[in-house]
């Protein structure tokens, strides 16, 4: 940011702070690079960069925002003042952040994602060669492959928050590498995918031969997969499925912006048992290396973990500024925006079940007849009704404590959230998180991670 623009933004925030209980500016930019190679097609293109400023004013009753891409200092100042001239101080709920500190204090802090190799320092041909190599290695593994598409995506974002006595700056970096494999035989088509990702640098960009081999083998094995007979099953979930269950059940379910709207059943269950004893769950934006990590949220709240479930009891929802203002609750570091042009909501970061003590193999060994559910593909929340929809790419039959090799394709989990979580009978000793994207309903997409250990539960599958 130029010194002149910095001075103008600082002056504008100060002016607004003198008129209203709260004012702040968030300057954010995001971008990245995406490379794909399917053998027949190659693409290397920027992830559409965004850059904008959003000014926020709490007038005493309503949060007002002006978001713009304008960067010229004079034009920015006049547009912001024109917008602010229409605002009036009003009476309403008091703010909960504990004081009306102004930016005069200027508590300046800078943060950056730790990384061994800055992706910006790696030449593009080297990245292209990496993707080509993954594509070539994978496509050579089986003649039934009709498409092996390798992907590399790097994301970078810079955010500056000015308000509440703070001037915070963070530079975030994330990498995802992945492989999508489509197979065909005798009129059947199936696919499988594998992705690795996290917060960090180019050092994360690697897929081993074993991982490629396993991805292709499963895509081929899925050609013989059938749909599962709907019913209630003893189910072991892999960390990706466990993570999506955590995310949909008591991630979205405890987003506190829904509480004052009367849209979250969890509002009436704080302090009550909602899962089996021993089940702990967290949302932690400060988790090193996780894809949903940040140092402060889009409302200037410094990242810290929130324990959502403790020993099966709902102890703390996640919140943003507005939800604590209208609903009076603990402010956590979860106020997040899709980008400068969208509102902040209470959103997840890295959401996961904490590991337990049972080895995953032992979990399967104790199932007489059930399903090992793997590779989560999607999920949907129902914060009011506490229904759940989680989809897995496939499940594998368990008989007499062993996997039989029989696969079921496109397996959905549905049910009532407390029934599902209270049916958990074993918590794995492992822990893995997957990079993903999350919407609020069907919009407001942000980067998150979900995960956990293997879990054993009773689940309705179909």
């Amino acid at each position: 940011m130029t010194e002149q623009r910095e001075a103008v933004i600082c002056e504008l925030v100060s002016e607004l702070e003198s008129r209203f209980p709260y004012a702040a500016a968030l300057i954010s930019s995001g971008g990245g690079l995406r490379i794909t190679d399917s053998g027949r097609e190659q693409q290397a293109t920027e992830a559409s960069p965004t850059r904008g400023i959003v000014f926020t004013v709490y007038d005493g009753a309503t949060f007002n925002e002006f978001a713009t891409t304008e960067t010229a200092p004079d034009a920015l100042a006049s547009a912001t003042r024109r917008w602010a001239s229409g605002l009036r101080r009003r009476d309403g709920p008091p703010l909960t952040f504990g004081g009306h500190a102004t930016i005069a204090g200027r508590d300046r802090r800078d943060f950056a994602t730790p990384m061994a190799a800055d992706p910006a320092s790696v030449p593009l041909p080297q990245k292209l060669a990496l993707v080509r190599d993954i594509q070539r290695r994978a496509s050579a593994l089986d003649p039934r492959i009709v498409q092996a598409r390798a992907q590399y995506a790097e994301s970078s974002g810079v955010a500056e928050y000015i308000g509440r006595g703070r001037w915070l700056r963070q530079r975030l970096s994330g990498i995802v590498v992945g492989l999508y494999v489509a197979t065909q035989a005798e009129g059947e088509s199936r696919f499988n995918f594998f992705a690795l990702g996290g917060a960090g640098g180019y050092e994360l960009a690697q897929i081993s031969d074993d991982q490629l081999q396993a991805t292709v083998e499963t895509a081929v094995r899925l050609l013989d997969a059938k749909r599962i007979e709907p019913g209630l099953y003893d189910t072991v979930t892999d960390p990706s499925v466990s993570g999506v269950i955590a995310h949909e059940c008591f991630g979205h379910g405890v987003e506190m912006d829904l509480f004052p709207k009367g849209r979250a059943r969890a509002a009436r269950f704080v302090g009550q048992r909602v899962a089996a004893p021993g089940v702990d769950m967290y949302d932690d934006p400060g988790l090193p290396g996780a894809f949903g990590s940040y140092f402060f949220d889009d409302e200037g709240e410094l990242a810290r973990p929130t324990q959502i479930l403790r020993d099966g009891v709902l102890v703390q929802p996640i919140s943003d500024f507005a939800s604590t203002t209208y609903g009076a609750g603990v402010h956590t570091a979860n106020g997040r925006r899709q980008d400068y042009s969208r509102k902040a909501y209470a959103r997840m970061s890295n959401t996961y079940f904490a590991p337990g003590t049972v080895a995953p193999a032992d979990m399967i060994a104790e199932v007489e007849r059930g399903v090992y559910l793997r590779s989560a593909t999607s999920g949907m929340e129902d914060p009011m009704g506490w229904g759940i929809q989680v989809s897995a790419l496939y499940g594998e039959e368990i008989r007499d404590g062993a996997l039989t090799g029989r696969l079921y394709t496109q397996v959905g989990v549905s049910g009532y959230v407390p029934d599902l979580l209270q049916s958990i009978t074993a918590i794995g000793s492992d822990l893995a998180l997957s990079a993903g994207a999350c919407g609020k309903g069907h919009k407001e997409m942000i980067s998150v991670a979900t995960g956990g250990p293997h879990l054993r539960m009773k689940a309705r599958l179909g």
Partner: protein, 466 residues
């Protein structure tokens, strides 16, 4: 296209970028897209609280650069030159500084030179021009904030008239955008569009006995949101959800109606459902399509109504209505599937040339031909009970296989004793196979993209018990 300040400004941006791209060594073809967006957002909590209001104004410019070169790794398929392409989004500071703009374009040209694809040619200006289409609400050409406020007031009034329900929350977006597209084939085109969006949650009941109905509606015009009608219908759904019980396990006839029927073709998030995915030239080029021109799209000869699906970018005020697509291909209506038989793929400029088929433009609004059976007849329980699904949590089928498993957010059991609301469990099946035995209602429904039967009765689908 009326000449206004925004038009002139975007045209100047496009012209500046075009000159820079055309002069850049290593750029064999280019396209620019300059966009201006303005939006007003109003967020409501319940009856009383205006949580937030936002004003958004922004400009963006994209430049796509193409480079022809000798293939880096020649394959058996590719002879001659290879084409590489990349798209840059240029921020204001990139555009305003010639040195910086030049550096960004040079970087893009280098990026394009490193990838190998089959060459294709950008579309030129169409001889007969672009079609005149309706995709603009003149009511949104004045004050977006006032328009959003008025909709909020109508919404609250409508909720007050709805018995037994209250507003949980609402998000109202009113927006307009203007785009100017140019390319190295001499094409120059502009379009304006408006958007009206409503995210709505209605709540019925109190305390532990509470249920909601949530929906996201996107249209071109505010009036097409039909607020009063929507509140009445969704209010009834919220009340029904209050008394809904889990369904029994079921294999038999299932009706999918209203927005749930629309979601079979037009999913609520990005990504295509199987009929749209398999009907694309892109899927065919990637060898992922199961459809063959002249052959059935269902695995077996249809026993019920036969599916006819049209991609229509001309439909007045459709959400995907536009005079041209991202590449400048003129809008048109194309029959993809007629009487259950695949007729032609939808194809953007690139994949049309790859396959040697007509460029239809990107997928447009989806029109499905209605049937001859009245809705009430579809719901007849003369031959036994049936389930009707009106809302899924998220209908998200596998686009390759068509397999789906979608949680039921709200539905009904129709039997001789009457109609009982249900909630929970999942509807399970294969979409391509299901259309092999289906009946379409005579009554239509539209969600802004989909226009087709208000209800589709499938002979046999599975419901996992709740």
């Amino acid at each position: 296209m009326p000449h206004d300040e925004t038009y002139d400004h975007l045209a100047a941006t496009a012209s500046r970028l075009a000159s820079a791209a055309g002069a850049m060594p290593g750029v064999d073809a280019w396209q620019t897209l300059a966009t201006r967006r303005d939006e007003a957002h109003v967020y409501l909590i319940g009856e009383d609280i205006e949580e937030a209001r936002r004003t958004v104004a922004g400009e963006s410019a994209e430049v796509t650069l193409h480079n022809l070169h000798a293939p880096h790794a020649p394959t058996g398929e590719q002879s001659g030159a290879a084409l590489g392409s990349t798209t840059l989004t240029l921020l204001a500071e990139d555009q305003g500084d010639p040195v910086r703009l030049s550096a960004r374009l040079r970087e893009g040209a280098l990026m394009a030179s490193l990838t190998d694809n089959q060459p294709y040619t950008l579309p030129g200006a169409p001889a007969s021009g672009f079609p005149v289409v309706a995709c603009e609400d003149i009511g949104l050409n004045v004050s977006l904030v006032a328009a959003a406020d008025q909709l909020g007031a109508r919404l609250r009034a409508a909720v007050r008239m709805a018995p037994g329900v209250r507003l949980g929350s609402a998000e109202i977006y009113a927006g307009r955008a203007q785009h100017t597209l140019t390319n190295s084939q001499g094409l120059t085109a502009s379009k304006r569009e408006t958007t009206a969006f409503l995210d709505l949650a209605l709540i019925a009941g109190e305390g532990d006995a509470t249920a909601e109905f949530h929906a996201e509606l996107r249209r071109r015009r505010l009036s097409d949101l039909h607020v009063e009608r929507v509140i009445a219908a969704y209010g009834a759904y919220a009340l029904h959800a209050l008394h809904a019980t889990p369904p029994d396990a079921w294999e038999g006839p299932v009706i999918v109606s209203g927005e749930a029927a629309a979601h079979l073709f037009n999913p609520p998030t990005t990504g295509d459902t199987p009929f749209v995915a398999h009907a694309s030239a892109e899927s065919a080029y990637r060898r992922l399509s199961k459809f063959q021109v002249g052959e059935l799209v269902t695995p077996e000869e249809p026993r019920g109504d036969r599916l006819t699906l049209v991609s229509d970018a001309l439909r007045p005020y459709g959400v995907r209505t536009a005079p041209f697509d991202r590449d400048g291909v003129p809008a048109r209506a194309v029959t993809l599937i007629a009487d259950g038989v695949f007729r032609q793929p939808w194809a953007n400029a690139r994949y049309a040339q790859y396959l040697g088929v007509a460029a239809t433009g990107e997928i447009g609004n989806l029109t499905v031909s209605c049937g001859a059976t009245p809705l009430e007849r579809l719901r007849s329980v003369e031959h036994g009970p049936l389930y009707e699904i009106v809302a899924f949590s998220w209908f998200h089928p596998d686009p390759v296989t068509g397999d789906f498993s979608a949680e039921i957010r709200l539905g009904y059991l129709h039997d001789r004793s009457g109609v009982r609301p249900i909630k929970g469990g999942s509807l399970v099946g294969n979409l391509l196979a299901a259309f092999g035995d289906a009946r379409f209602s005579a009554e239509p429904f539209s969600d802004g993209v989909y226009y087709g039967p208000a209800a589709i009765r499938f002979a046999t689908l599975t419901i996992t018990g709740g």
